[in-house]
């Protein structure tokens, strides 16, 4: 069944004319990506702090990173979780992983908001992971070597270890799920930096319309690297819907 390509194009072009509501924000994000990735690749053991630069020492992008808060996690929790994420979706010969995508930044923010009910389970679980690290290697989890870290995580996943809430397997599955969310969700939420996650699985990006030829190209379609919120329609700043009526104006009473 041939779709009506002319109509498709007209509509998607109309919508594609929506400019990002704040172009500078996009540029800043891209800047963070470049600088951050370089810093991390230069030091395999780097943590969140290591990527910092003194205020005023670098580009605007550096100072954005420096001002970023940990909203929920403690410094040690964030370091521990950073390594867990890197074990789950590693940076390796196939390219960057959850660490570069900033899955921990996503998780920290989500724990202050939508996933706040999971704060306790993270606190207990990350503490337990470090307890096992000390038992295993007499060091904090992030100081162990990668084989030791993987062995502990495998045990957390499969061996029903004590000290986790609600269970070690449940904790593992939650962290795995959130790590994937942070790596592959819209960059608006603080992860998937520089569209690392979407590029990893060759997702060509959010489009407001996809023509038959777009679909035929599939994952070979050039990635457009756009957040949903690069479309001003979906932001707080949207003025109106330009040609698409809001049903509310049609009537109805606000109150009985």
């Amino acid at each position: 069944m041939a779709g009506n390509n002319n109509n498709d194009k007209t509509q998607s072009e109309h919508l594609a004319t929506d400019q990002p509501s704040n172009p500078s924000r996009r540029n800043l994000l891209k800047g963070v990506g470049v600088v951050g990735a370089a810093a991390l690749s230069g030091a395999a053991t780097s943590n969140l702090i290591a990527a910092d630069a003194p205020p005023g020492a670098g580009s605007a992008a550096d100072s954005i990173v420096a001002r970023e808060a940990l909203e929920v996690l403690t410094a040690l929790e964030a370091e521990t979780l950073e390594v867990i994420c890197d074990c789950l979706i590693p940076s390796d010969d196939n390219g960057p992983g959850a660490r570069e995508a900033r899955a921990v930044h996503y998780i920290d923010r989500s724990l202050a908001a939508h996933n706040s009910a999971a704060r306790h389970d993270y606190m207990i679980g990350l503490s337990a992971v470090n307890d096992y690290a000390h038992q295993t290697g007499n060091k904090a989890f992030h100081q162990l070597d990668r084989d030791q870290q993987n062995a502990i995580l495998l045990a957390v996943q499969n061996d029903n270890l004590d000290g986790f809430a609600p269970s070690s397997g449940g904790f593992f599955n939650m962290v795995r799920s959130h790590t994937i969310d942070g790596t592959f969700s819209d960059p608006y939420y603080g992860g998937n930096r520089d569209f690392i996650g979407w590029d990893m699985i060759r997702y060509p990006g959010i489009r407001l319309g996809a023509s038959e030829s777009d679909v035929a190209q599939g994952a070979d379609l050039a990635p457009n690297h756009q957040s949903a919120y690069d479309h001003s329609t979906y932001t707080k700043m949207a003025q109106n819907m330009r040609g698409i009526p809001d049903s509310r104006v049609r009537g109805g009473r606000d109150h009985a």
């Binding site: 993987n150 599939g218 009537g251 009473r253």
Partner: protein, 567 residues
């Protein structure tokens, strides 16, 4: 005491798939209608293409009234009922805002399956514990209403049977329709083309399924843009034919429909003569009484039943319209589980597909094949579609090939993220003696009112259909070149579902049914009930179009027989 409001002709509880449709014939006939809706108005600006917000965090369902009254579920009366999520949306337009929008007519067999089974195979083939009855009318009676809804709401599809003329481009098993769909079907995709060819190789008849989504400019709405965020999301260009963008605005434009948002109905009031007089609802911190000559209940199967069970009065001490003890009985939720998952050796190009953009096989549905040598009745519609999003793709099954994390896993998803497909198999589900809805004795909503408790499980008939249809699905995938196939188990307890049926079943016999053949209560004559709760059989396909056709029919009957209904 509730504040009394001016009386209206009709109050409709719920402005969703059913209530939204019902409003149009009534308001066109000049009747004054108040539509009470627990949610608010949403606009296309609310439907960002955001998998995390929509798909994983269930916005906005997760923050709505329905979320606080999610049913508890148990398989049998001996089990502990556990509360899950609520699948439906509170909004003007209801769940038609974010549903997949497949819009099927039931096949003729679904209306008369008791008679048809007796005649073809003998009465013994109907499971002994099933309470199934024929509908009080045949497919032909509902056909004109299917037609009205298809054109008023806007359905795209390929007819397979127009007045007896069979067209193999459509469903050759469908009942005769009076005319074509108002719009051609949604376009095919590279993957549905592959699956369609494989089906033809097997001698089956594949076709593009019907959808409440525009495939071309229709009634001022643009065609679908195929960006693929239908699932749990509304349409950014109003191509999805939600009642919020079709029939409800038309009804508002008559000047006869007043929509009241964030109105939480808590009680349907009945007088001592057994007639309903209106409804009590809470908005903000105030309680109102909306008097009406007729009440139409359209709040989805679970809430329809719960509101009736909560509405006790002198005339109805066990709940409204429950003096025969039929309220909550004959409950089914569609057996949509037991999918088959396939892995292919090439990219499927599904990143921009929608759930309703799919290809269907009806050979193994209903009674479209001979069951003489089989140990079940009914069957399944097989459906493959093209929806894929990055988070869900990254969470794909690894088919036991690699661990679920680490470098090997990463390499696996990098290669295979666009190479898997999960079928959607909808199966005939029967009502049974011990499957029912009642009020949970422990779990309450935010007002302290008990939530619905589902006691229901699948039986042999459902499980045998599941196994049979999985074999057919596996055969189809393998013919299309799948390199791995996984079948999921049949399940046991029937959880809360977007396809819930029964509880206020429609039928001529007032001893076994809550509403009559027009959708009005056998016991409270000016109470009409709309939605899947009146359906006596599930069919093996999505229910919404049937719900809407029934709603139109009840509403039109009311407008044409006002005096006799009001009494």
């Amino acid at each position: 005491m509730p504040r009394n409001l001016p009386k209206t002709d009709v109050v409709i509880v719920g402005m969703g798939a059913a209530g939204g449709v019902a409003a149009l014939p009534l308001t066109n006939a000049g009747l004054k209608v108040v539509g009470l809706e627990a949610g608010g108005w949403l606009s296309p600006r609310d439907f960002a293409p955001d998998e995390l917000r929509n798909g994983a965090r269930n916005w906005p369902q997760s923050v709505q009234k329905a979320a606080g009254e999610a049913p508890t579920v148990r398989a049998t009366a001996a089990d502990q009922a556990v509360q899950g999520g609520h699948p439906m949306m509170n909004a003007v337009g209801g769940t038609t805002m974010h549903y997949w929008a497949q819009s099927w007519r039931l096949n003729p067999w679904d209306f008369q399956l008791v008679t048809a089974t007796r005649e073809r195979y003998g009465a013994s083939r109907i499971p002994a514990a099933s309470t199934i009855e024929d509908w009080p009318f045949t497919y032909a009676e509902l056909e004109p209403y299917y037609d009205k809804v298809e054109y008023a709401v806007g359905i795209s599809g390929q007819a397979g049977n127009v007045q007896g003329n069979i067209n193999p481009a459509g469903n050759i098993f469908e009942g005769a329709r009076n005319r074509e769909y108002p719009m051609r079907p949604l376009r095919a995709s590279p993957f549905t083309d592959i699956m369609g060819m494989a089906a033809r190789n097997l001698g089956w008849n594949p076709f593009q399924g019907p959808a409440a989504i525009t495939s071309e400019l229709y009634d001022g709405r643009p065609p679908c843009q195929y960006h693929g965020f239908c699932n749990k999301g509304g349409c950014h260009v109003q191509a999805k034919s939600s009642t919020a963008f079709t029939v409800i605005p038309k009804a508002v434009d008559t000047g006869n429909l007043e929509v009241v948002t964030f109105a939480r109905v808590i009680n349907i009031v009945a007088d001592n003569n057994g007639k309903v007089t209106g409804v009590d609802y809470i908005k903000g911190n105030e309680t109102f009484f909306q008097p009406a000559d007729v009440v139409l209940l359209a709040s989805y199967a679970y809430e329809n039943v719960r509101l009736l069970q909560l509405s006790k009065s002198r005339a109805f001490p066990d709940g409204l319209s429950n003096n025969a003890g039929q309220l909550g009985r004959h409950y089914m939720s569609h057996h949509q589980g037991s999918p088959v998952l396939a892995l292919f050796d090439r990219d499927l190009h599904n990143w921009y597909g929608l759930p309703a953009q799919g290809v269907a096989i009806d050979e193994w549905a209903d009674d479209n094949f001979d069951h003489a040598e089989l140990d079940f009745i009914g069957g399944a519609n097989l459906w493959v579609h093209t929806d894929r999003k990055p988070m869900a793709a990254a969470k794909m099954s690894t088919f036991g090939v690699v661990p679920s994390w680490g470098s090997d896993w990463k390499a696996f998803i990098m290669k295979n993220a666009d190479r898997s497909n999960m079928s959607y198999i909808q199966k005939t589900t029967l009502p049974y003696e011990d499957n029912y809805l009642d009020l949970d004795p422990m779990v309450k909503d935010s007002l302290g009112l008990p939530v619905t408790r589902i006691t229901a499980r699948y039986r042999d008939n459902e499980k045998r259909i599941a196994a049979f249809s999985q074999d057919k699905m596996e055969q189809w995938y393998l013919e299309a070149g799948a390199i791995e196939v996984t079948k999921f188990g049949p399940g046991n307890a029937m959880g809360a579902s977007t396809h819930a049926y029964g509880g206020t079943r429609m039928g001529l016999n007032s001893d076994t049914n809550v509403v009559n053949e027009w959708g009005f209560s056998h016991e409270a004559p000016n109470l009409g009930i709309l939605g899947g709760s009146v359906m006596g059989s599930s069919g093996s396909r999505n229910p919404t179009l049937t719900v809407q056709a029934l709603a139109w029919r009840t509403s039109e009957y009311l407008a044409n027989n006002w005096r006799s209904v009001v009494g």
